[in-house]
């Protein structure tokens, strides 16, 4: 049986990427360009997959590379694994460029949870020291601090924020009011997982630094959705995942640790010779891992860069703001996500006062072949005082206006009682 070498795999992939990059005058609509892009995915025909906020689909070209990499590993395990591992610094360069960091500030991890935990476990805090997190923090950035509180005696305070907040300033003000003389860090989400609200991370970082605090950000919902520049944000660390909006295979994430923070954050899982690595590589030296998955991260980055990030942002904003503006007109629908572009991106959270979240979700699933995420009150975010309950709709660039219309139709039917 013959197997493609890595250069052969990469050459075939480059052709697909060229196709994807071809610009078209009509790329702002569903016609032409976006139809073509949609065909680059393996998603089941008919399925409106609107849950990219949990896990994204891998494009066909990236999936095919991944399969080739796994075969290479089975054919000649160590030598081919070494070839894949040899791409690591190149991938770090691409990832750094993607996030606006220096390569020596980027670690390639498994997911955002690993990054958030690494920061929480890695920073030395004393009993009584206080960390501020937001009300709608994902467990990924809540439980690591709670664990440190239980074990190390720090105090974790959840800062109340409206759902949705009226303005970015309101969020900054909420954090500012919560700071006490014992506060050491603000650790919060850049875009939360519940209502998809964007936080003014740059202003929060400025606030934190003005008061001598660390600012750690959780960007799980941002990377690949809208362009991020961590240097511009000015945060100390930024943890994110690549298998949501970047559509990389499950199992890759990135952690940014600012150069002058690296002395203050211990590595977590690291194998031999970690101490010879003086920069962010010490955080990712995690011993044997699924290298094909890591290698496919490079392909996922190439794929998105080929489409163009400005184009992606325009597309997802077109889809989501259209959806929000239409949904807002439907009786019984309550939008939890602001349509202010400073506060929103591709996620939309809504509920209906006459239909339970699970019924809403199943109606869309069964009748319109639409997959969304449902959320019931209080099960996961006990501190959430606003009782967000309903469904979350993720509209990524491969989704279509026709799919958005299906959701709207479902909402109208349920709203009018016709369902």
């Amino acid at each position: 049986m013959a197997f493609a070498t890595l250069p052969a795999v990469k050459a075939a992939f480059a052709k697909t990427v060229d196709q994807v990059a071809k610009s078209s005058a009509s790329w702002r609509t569903d016609d032409g360009y976006w139809d073509q892009i949609r065909k680059e995915f393996m998603l089941e025909d008919g399925l409106a997959y609107l849950n990219n906020g949990t896990v994204g689909p891998t494009p066909k070209a990236v999936y095919e590379n991944l399969v080739s990499y796994w075969r290479l590993m089975a054919v000649n395990p160590n030598e081919n694994s070494a070839i894949l591992q040899g791409r690591m610094d190149l991938i770090r360069h691409k990832a750094a460029q993607f996030l606006g960091a220096y390569p020596d500030e980027i670690a390639i991890l498994h997911n955002a949870t690993e990054g958030n935990n690494l920061v929480a476990q890695g920073v030395d805090l004393k009993p009584g020291d206080e960390v501020l997190i937001g009300y709608l923090e994902h467990d990924s950035n809540r439980q690591p601090w709670r664990l440190k509180a239980k074990r190390g005696g720090i105090v974790v305070t959840e800062v109340p924020i409206d759902t949705p907040p009226k303005s970015p300033e309101e969020i900054v003000h909420a954090f500012e009011s919560a700071i006490t003389p014992r506060t050491r860090a603000i650790s919060t989400t850049h875009c939360d997982t519940v209502i998809g609200n964007y936080s003014p991370i740059k202003e929060l970082a400025q606030l934190a630094h003005a008061k001598g605090l660390f600012c750690f950000a959780d960007g799980a919902q941002v990377n690949g959705m809208i362009p991020v520049n961590v240097h511009e944000l000015g945060v100390d660390t930024y943890a994110t995942t690549c298998h949501k909006w970047l559509c990389s295979p499950a199992g890759t994430g990135l952690l940014y640790v600012r150069r002058d923070m690296q002395e203050r954050i211990w590595p977590n899982i690291v194998t031999e010779n970690w101490w010879t690595l003086k920069d962010s590589r010490k955080y990712e030296h995690v011993s044997r891992r699924p290298w094909p998955v890591v290698a496919a991260l490079e392909d996922a980055i190439d794929f998105q860069n080929a489409i163009g990030r400005e184009r992606i942002e325009f597309r997802i904003r077109s889809l989501s703001s259209y959806f929000r503006s239409q949904a807002a007109e439907i009786p019984h629908v309550k939008l939890y996500t602001s349509n202010d572009p400073r506060l929103s991106g591709a996620l939309t959270s809504l509920g209906m006062d006459n239909v339970s979240p699970l019924k809403l979700r199943e109606y869309l699933r069964q009748r319109f072949d639409v997959y969304t995420a449902a959320r019931s009150r209080g099960t996961r975010y006990p501190a959430d005082p606003h009782g967000v309950e309903g469904i979350r709709i993720s509209t990524h660039y491969y989704n279509t206006f026709e799919q958005v219309e299906r959701v709207l139709q479902g909402l109208r039917e349920l709203s009018s009682g016709k369902a």
């Binding site: 997959y49 689909p57 590993m73 089975a74 498994h110 101490w275 998955v293 699933r365 959320r375």
Partner: protein
Amino acid sequence: MIGHSGVSRRLFLNKIIGSSALTASTLTEVKAAFAKSLQPLGDSNAAHLGGDTDEGYWDKIRKQFLLQEDLAYLNTGTLGPTPRVVVNAMNEYWHLMAVNPNENSLVLQDRQEQIRMKAAAFAHVTPDEIAITRNTTEGTTILTHGLDMKPGDEVLITQYEHNSLRETRHRHAKRFNYVVNEVQFPMPCTNEQIVKAFDAAITPRTRVMHFANPLGGYGCFTPVKELAALAHSKKIFCFVDGAHTPGMVQFNLSDWGIDGFACNSHKWLCGAAGAGLLYVRKDIQDRIWPNIDIAHGDPVGARKYDQLSRRPWPCVAALEDILDFHNAIGPARLEQRTRELGSYLRRNAVEIPKVKIYTPMDPSMSCGSTTLGIDGVPGMRFREYLRQKYDAYVPAGGTHLRISTHFFNTFEQCDRVLKALKELSSGAA
């Protein structure tokens, strides 16, 4: 919470209307095909059982792998090859994820408890004591970071530990101000020497003994039961680095009597890179904190150690397949085969002038891993000679090299190594 319906309606629909050009198999179909392909491995024909010949049964087993034609891959100790059926099943899982990311991811995630049960049975412990980690280093890190240490406490490791364990221990000791002492004994050695060395190194401040079994660089098994008994007689925790254990030999962690054990599945078990196991004895779980946490609530037992959030679920699902693959062949048959190959290599190599074997010849202390060197010949030269002249792959080393002979390797491949040793030893090379 972000809920889901629990059943993949798409999979069901897919079967009825055959919706896509890229029609995916369901997990059930993938599993059924996989089980069928394992059936021939269970051959119990007495004539085929011997580990002492390449013919018949083992020839058939070798063909289960995708390894390059003619390559003598003798480095399972770093990374094992994954059998074709497992690679194919895993790629089907990746396909499922691309076709319907969330629902199919959930279908795979739902196998987790089943995998935990199989892994627990494989290690002879209870499922509540098993966490599904990513590799040995992660497990070792949990055992190291997870136990609260006081300044001045002492931990004993051996001078032969993998640097992953050594450096993790030293780093943790530096951060929390405790002491790591390395127990010394010669190599090769006897069981008695190892026990004596540990006994002599224990002080009233010793809190943990943490060592590999086998010691990976030398393929040397330790008297783990005696060491565990010694540790417990002095109220010391006993943790084992098992990176080279599963898949090479049969093992029973309950019988060993240790407190913690970390291993991978990509070496001797031949699983896809990226899944490992951690055992934490029930009685001490309240003493060992998790390392990575996302759990809302309190996961039962050792599950608190594998709350890792989104991970490459296809790799985790493939862990079940590789356990099934091993069980189909039979761990006893596998160990016998691996042992026959290893001892064949050692007993012939020891006859060659200038060849020194660092792995104990005692069959109770060795199996599929053999570390040896040739006086006056640098390891790198030996390695390149094997690679270029005999198409044999072994890892780099200094004065000596580690040769892994696993069940898919052959006596003919061992002979290639022996020929190279003779040629280099006699100066004919």
